[in-house]
Amino acid sequence: MIILIGILVSVATYLILSRNMIRIIIGTAVLSHAVNLLIMTSGGLKTGNVPLLGHGDGPFTDALPQALILTAIVISFATTAFLLVLAYRTYKTNGSDDFNELRGMSDE
């Protein structure tokens, strides 16, 4: 699991460091998946029962990381959607999806 997270983070870093807008956005999405997996490992994997009373005795699995991941997924979903719309509008208005050409300040 840790190795998988490591691979995802490195892929995400590579993508974010590129100049193309869409690659960067995919990079942030991959990064958020890596982080979600990391939160999952923080609760400890493969230990214990379903955390419901009456479904067997303890030890129970820690349910909190899953709640955290759920929240994080919703948030990252929303930001990614917003980013894609924003990127599309920026591409339409500025006529470029290359960050080198979006440096700014030169036309002011």
């Binding site: 942030t28 939160i39 909190l64 990381p65 924003l86 920026t90 979006l102």
Partner: protein
């Protein structure tokens, strides 16, 4: 009774949703928005009195006792922040009504402003670190929209960078939370503080603390402020003023909270790094402010300088230094909002952004000019005005702790602030007037009212320092002795 704590979060968010349905009724939208914010200000004032009387109050959602449930905590520091941000928002809205234009008002701008305020208040009041992340996201989401709203070329370009930086920042925040949870197995701030104190702050926890530090510095604009001048300059003035007053200050609040409550045990590592960062921020911010000829950029770099100055107080860490930070934070929220509104009004009146192209404004608008002068004096820290007490307290604290380098940097930065703002004053307000009486645009009355009101706030903070210091001292007391906070949260369970 405790339910009152949640109102500063709930009311703006509910109202924001209601406003979505009132899209075409702009006057109704304005009335509802301003009434809501005034109501929130009154509630937070009431809350401040309550906290002052009864000590820290908390609200456990759905009756889950801490450390298991999510909770809201109101201590003097957080309520002071909520109160200031609500009042500043009222005046920024007043300014927005007269200047922002129908195009923005049709596109739900008031809803997003209210969501922003809801997120900011939530971040101040929460007692759970994951909830802090969620409130940060609410606030950031609203701010993304506010930066991009309007759809101009520059706005879209800068907003894309702003959003990307913050998305990556949020991921790092989550990484820090995951490590924190796997080491201390709790997310309640008071409980984290207790466990960290019990286990001793080992290198692992210090690393986690530093990851959190990086995240909050990104939000506060501490060293990692490269995104700030770009994205704060592009939105409409009222939104700029809100950002200047609220967004970076939430980051500063989170830094102060984290390093006084949760990770205060390794000051030789963490607080030294904070000190270095604060010093570097001041130097770089000063360079930016001196080099720029654009009024908006100068104002944006002044935010950066102030953030560095406030964090000197945290880095030094003595009682009076932290009191100074709290006091200066309150002052800075008011003064920076006013500065941005004034500078935005200059751009609106002349249609120019460079100081070389403006001249003689004080002849056309005398009162406006003198309010600018007053703001400048307050930001520099001239005695009867609001910046003075904060600067004195931070200075006193750094002398007590013997950190003379930071002391020197802090007070040298005052001179740079004076110089950069005086540069605007001399070249834009004095000199030959360029606006003839025929082209003179009338100054909107509502925005003039908001200038005067904010200026009065500033004078009140300065003159009423004695009254305010009671609250500030109380806030500092809790910050310096985290055990008060921890006991208040965990004792009943």
């Amino acid at each position: 009774m405790n339910n009152i704590i949640v109102l500063p979060l709930i009311i703006p968010i509910f109202t924001a949703v209601i406003l979505v349905f009132l899209r075409n009724y702009i006057v109704v939208q304005r009335m509802i928005t301003i009434t809501t914010m005034i109501a929130v200000s009154i509630i937070s004032f009431f809350l401040l009195e309550l906290v002052q009387r009864e000590g820290i109050i908390k609200l456990d959602f759905s009756g889950w006792k801490p450390p298991f449930g999510i909770l809201f905590v109101a201590d003097t520091f957080s309520v002071l922040m909520v109160l200031t941000s609500s009042i500043v928002t009222v005046f920024c809205l007043l300014y927005a009504f007269s200047t922002i234009g129908e195009r923005h008002e049709n596109m739900f701008i008031y809803s997003f402003v209210l969501l922003l305020v809801g997120g900011v208040n939530g971040s101040f009041l929460t007692g759970d670190i994951f909830n802090l992340f969620v409130c940060f996201e609410v606030m950031l989401m609203a701010s993304y929209v506010l930066v991009a709203l309007g759809g101009e070329k520059v706005q879209l370009r800068e907003s894309l960078k702003y959003v990307l930086i913050n998305v990556i920042g949020s991921s790092i925040f989550l990484i820090a939370l995951a490590y924190l949870y796997s080491t201390v197995k709790t997310l309640n701030m008071a409980h984290i503080a207790e466990r960290v104190a019990e286990a001793g702050q080992d290198p692992m926890l210090t690393t986690v603390a530093l990851v959190l530090f990086i995240v909050f510095s990104l939000k506060a604009g501490l060293v990692l402020f490269f995104w700030l001048p770009g994205s704060y300059v592009v939105p409409p003035t009222a939104v700029q003023a809100l950002f200047a007053a609220l967004l970076t200050k939430v980051g500063v609040y989170a830094l102060i909270r984290t390093f006084t409550l949760m990770f205060p045990h390794q000051p030789e590592v963490t607080h030294t790094i904070i000190g270095i960062f604060a010093g570097a921020t001041i130097i770089l911010g000063c360079m930016g402010a001196l080099a720029s000829r654009n009024v908006l950029t100068i104002a944006a770099y002044n935010i950066v300088i102030a953030v560095g100055f406030i964090l000197i107080g945290l880095a030094v860490g003595t009682e009076s230094a932290i009191a100074g930070s709290v006091y200066y934070l309150i002052h800075d929220m008011v003064a920076k909002a006013l500065l941005f509104l004034l500078v935005g009004m200059m751009v609106y009146l002349t249609g120019e952004k460079l100081i070389d192209h403006m001249s003689g404004l004080i002849r056309n608008y005398p009162l406006f000019g003198w309010i600018y002068f007053l703001t400048m004096l307050a930001l520099v820290g001239i005695p009867p005005l609001s910046g003075f007490v904060g600067k004195v307290l931070i200075g006193k604290g750094s002398i007590e702790a013997g950190s003379y380098v930071l002391l020197f940097l802090g007070f040298a930065s005052s001179l740079v602030v004076l110089f950069s703002l005086l540069k605007i004053f001399l070249s834009s307000f004095f000199g030959e007037t360029i606006i003839t009486n025929e082209d003179k645009k009338p100054l909107p009355i509502a925005s003039m009212a908001s200038f005067i009101a904010l200026a009065l706030c500033m004078i009140a903070i300065g003159l009423g320092a004695e009254q305010l210091l009671v609250y500030v001292q109380d806030a500092t007391n809790i910050l310096v002795n985290p055990s008060i906070y921890i006991d208040a949260i965990l004792s009943e369970s």
